[in-house]
Amino acid sequence: SQQGEEDPQALSIQEGENATMNCSYKTSINNLQWYRQNSGRGLVHLILIRSNEREKHSGRLRVTLDTSKKSSSLLITASRAADTASYFCATAGRLGFGGGADGLTFGKGTHLIIQP
């Protein structure tokens, strides 16, 4: 079953603008990860944030995690045409809390289109 729900389902912005995507989940987690998928490079890991972290940065990416609200956001700053892709959040369950052991539980994704 789907754990994460991304919001919005689709997002179209102009190149250079910032893009924000949100993810909500249902059960206790060990960590939350964001992945990008496009036809050229398949599914690629972007960033991982642990349950005891609140914010993390990697280049133009900024991820926040609010475990009290069971939500996360991914911000891409200064977007580029190459950022056009689908973005998925994925959660890793806490040991002993089920969730498919080491299997990640993915949301349905946000399709991001960067207009040149």
């Binding site: 789907q2 994460g4 060990n30 960590n31 990860q33 992945y35 398949g42 599914l43 690629v44 890991h45 991982l48 998925f88 994925a90 890793a92 369950g93 040991l95 498919g100 052991a101 080491d102 299997g103 990640l104 539980t105 993915f106 949301g107 349905k108 994704g109």
Partner: protein
Amino acid sequence: GAGVSQSPSNKVTEKGKDVELRCDPISGHTALYWYRQSLGQGLEFLIYFQGNSAPDKSGLPSDRFSAERTGGSVSTLTIQRTQQEDSAVYLCASSLAGAWGGEQFFGPGTRLTVL
């Protein structure tokens, strides 16, 4: 080194036939995962191997699905008596031992079409 590879990249089969999908993980990665992605959907976890054993088979959708891993490396996902609802992209991923819920490296997938 090389990334995760999968074969075939595309497979078209007739309903009722059996298919085998292969995954070659990154060398040294002891954890291997299979996922399924239907059109426009997220990834659905199927099965996880640590070494050659599969402690978690809870995600397999039916008893027509089975998987094995030999030598702690290559894995094969077998679907018997395929049905049209089995049509999807099957993705394999691997990760380092002990990487509880850590970064997973995905292969390009096998697109399965059941006619």
